[in-house]
């Protein structure tokens, strides 16, 4: 394998890892407040549609991403209300989102573009290269010649890591996910924190979805998310609920995705479907080897009743 090929695969890996990273961070914020949200796939699907539509109408990918993120928040408010206020089962509502949001997205797409599918295309976000740094051999093209979304997500990883480990507010936030009753006793508003978590989760997951239609491909199609929400969930477990761990996990999964794409082009002998399985199979293998018996925030998945003693 020569250097060019490797750098090509790595650049593509960074690109593939970005949506995963957005969504995995979304889940991180959610689970740190004790809310397991398996509806990420659904939120992403809705975010990708809204992002695409806005980008298609205005021609501005940045506005598309912003609106996609807001769309994600909107959808996730259903989850927030049902799991926080009504204290319903988180798994069930996550599942409901996975059914509801893609259906809504596909419905809106058909209403906008008609039942007979016409292929509508929008503009893609352009890469912004950082002067001087981009000329560094090998690393320059890899790290400093990407879309602003990529820079944004790495900044977000750093901010998240600092927030959770170095600030008082971040520790309060984590307390909500570990032991909400104790947190409440200490004067932390648990319900408010959970709602904030849902807003952040919806925003970031919607952004990850919008990335797919504004930076990756320039059309929307049903099933565009292709299980990335679940891979991101796996990345959170694999990354042991820390921002840096999640970053590494997403880069690894992104690398598998990039490798899969690259291998498909390379050979005709092996059917391409076997390569397409790589990200999913590697997720399973990675979890099997490293993901066992690690628990995240202690109260995750449990409903919180404020009145209960």
């Amino acid at each position: 394998m020569n250097w060019n090929l490797l750098s090509e695969v790595l650049i593509s890996a960074v690109r593939m890892a970005t949506p995963l990273l957005f969504v995995a961070l979304a889940e991180l914020y959610s689970e740190r407040a004790g809310l397991v949200n398996i509806g990420l796939d659904g939120i992403m699907a809705f975010g990708s549609l809204v992002g695409f539509l806005v980008c298609f109408w205005t021609g501005n990918p940045f506005l598309g991403v912003l609106c996609g993120a807001l769309g994600g928040v909107l959808v996730n408010m259903v989850y927030a209300f049902c799991t926080v206020t009504l204290a319903g089962q988180q798994i069930v509502y996550g599942m409901a989102l996975n059914i509801f949001a893609p259906a809504l997205a596909s419905f809106i797409y058909r209403v906008v573009f008609g039942v007979s599918s016409t292929l509508a295309q929008a503009t893609l976000m352009k890469t912004v290269s950082i002067p001087v740094l981009k000329d560094v051999p090998f690393l320059g093209k890899l790290l400093f010649d990407q879309t602003p979304m990529v820079y944004g997500v790495y900044l977000l990883v750093i901010v998240t890591a600092i927030y959770f480990n170095r600030t008082k507010s971040g520790l309060n936030y984590k307390a909500v996910g570990e032991y909400p009753k104790a947190a409440e006793t200490m004067g932390i508003n648990v319900v408010l924190h959970k709602y904030i978590a849902c807003i952040l989760c919806g925003f970031l997951a919607g952004m990850g979805g919008a990335y797919l239609t504004t930076c990756y491909v320039n059309t929307y199609s049903d099933g565009i998310v292709a299980g990335r929400g679940f891979i991101a969930l796996a990345a959170v477990i694999f990354g042991r609920w820390s921002a840096s761990g999640v970053l590494l996990a997403c880069l690894l999964f992104g690398f598998f995705d990039a490798m899969q794409l690259r291998l498909q082009v390379g050979t005709d002998l092996i059917p391409y479907q076997l390569f397409q399985m790589i990200p999913y199979v590697m997720t399973l293998i990675a979890l099997t080897i490293f993901g066992s018996k690690i628990a995240g925030p202690k109260s995750k998945g449990k409903p919180y009743y404020r009145e209960e003693r």
Binding site: G88, Q89, F100, F107, V111, I231, A234, T283, G291
Partner: protein, 351 residues
């Protein structure tokens, strides 16, 4: 007790009505006439003998995947792999049929068994990962779904491809599962589905093993203190629910679809989850809900042609029903709401 039972029926029914009202509002917002849409929907579902038969045909795979979900969730296993297990069953059935090369009823039986077995194996894999490595089954089953779907792609584009179109050869005529009435598409598969549903209902609620299985689902810690092997019950739930979905896949490919093509079986698994949740994980109710949604789906195609309302409005309604139904039952756990409802009941009784 009686009140809780009444609520268990009342909440899903109200949720369905409410979801429908919203669905109608959406249609109205599109500038279409809801009454007309409903008319087309009914005509599409019940307008002729063929259409009526189609609703039953459409319900069959949904009953299987719904029951598969029911069985697993009752044991606390959140199997989202109905999709993959269903496909594993179809793929095993058609592969066996085509490889044997003979025709006849015995091939059908072998193929159905192969499908059931393969579905069970596809359920066993995440089961092993769950009990041995403690991995969350929701993630692993989804990954296995994608692997199964891609493997199906490999079968119809490469391994079992017939001719220039990417699809497999069809199941030979005499191997197909027979029709109950020759000119309608309803096969004996639906009888299998219904019998299975009744059997699961009996097993879960009227046998001691079924009780233990539900106990494990309800409270694994208490169950293990009572000497139940939680892991063994969970593994069983994985295998059986996979096998049920696999049997469904085999019945579907041998009775309705006959060949693997692109997009085959898409959505049956998740629909099964949705149905079972709406039916509050009750096997008999699951079958009823499955038929209800089959009616909507068959009817909605006619509605799309007639009025231009996209069929995905049915998906939205389906998801809304889950949201309302589960919200309804979790609201009942909130102290304030519970008190209010119980008061309501008492007033009724006083009158």
């Amino acid at each position: 007790m009686q009140k809780t039972k009444l609520l268990n029926v009342l909440i899903p029914v109200l949720s369905i009505l409410l979801a429908f009202v919203i669905g109608m509002l959406i249609i109205l917002a599109l500038g279409k006439n809801p009454a007309e849409a409903i008319g087309y929907l009914m005509k599409g579902a019940f307008g002729s003998k063929t259409n009526l038969a189609n609703t039953v045909v459409r319900a069959m795979p949904l009953i299987f995947t719904g029951l598969s979900t029911c069985f697993a969730y009752r044991c606390g296993v959140f199997n989202l792999g109905g999709e993959g297990q269903f496909l594993a069953g179809s793929m095993a059935a058609i592969t066996v049929t085509l490889l044997i090369g003979h025709e006849g009823w015995w091939v059908t039986i072998v193929a159905v068994l192969a499908g059931t077995l393969m579905g069970g194996i596809w359920g066993l894999l995440p089961g092993i990962l769950k009990t041995w490595r403690g991995l969350n089954e929701m993630i692993t089953t989804i990954m296995f779904n994608y692997v199964a779907t891609l493997f199906m792609g490999y079968l119809y584009t490469t391994a079992l491809r017939e001719g220039s179109v990417p699809q497999t050869a069809p199941v030979p005529d005499t191997t197909k599962i027979g029709r109950i009435i020759p000119d309608l598409r309803i096969t004996w598969g639906i009888v299998v589905a219904i019998l299975l549903g009744v059997a699961i209902w009996y097993f879960l609620f009227y046998t001691s093993k079924g009780f233990q299985l539900r106990a494990v689902g309800f409270n694994p810690v208490a169950s293990s203190y009572n000497g139940l092997s939680v892991k063994r019950y969970m593994l069983t739930a994985f295998i059986v629910s996979g096998a049920i979905a696999g049997l469904g896949g085999a019945c579907d490919i041998l009775g309705t679809q006959f060949r693997l093509i692109s997009g085959y079986g898409g959505g049956y698994g998740f629909d099964g989850v949705a149905l079972a949740l709406i039916a509050q994980l009750h096997p008999l109710a699951t079958m009823a809900v499955a038929y209800f949604f089959a009616v909507l789906r068959v009817g909605s195609t006619t509605m799309q042609v007639g009025t231009g309302v996209p069929t995905s409005v049915i998906d939205i309604i389906q998801a809304l029903v889950i949201i309302f139904a589960v919200a309804g039952s979790s609201m009942m756990y909130l102290p304030k709401v519970r008190k209010f409802v119980m008061n309501l009941f008492e007033k009724k009784e006083a009158v």
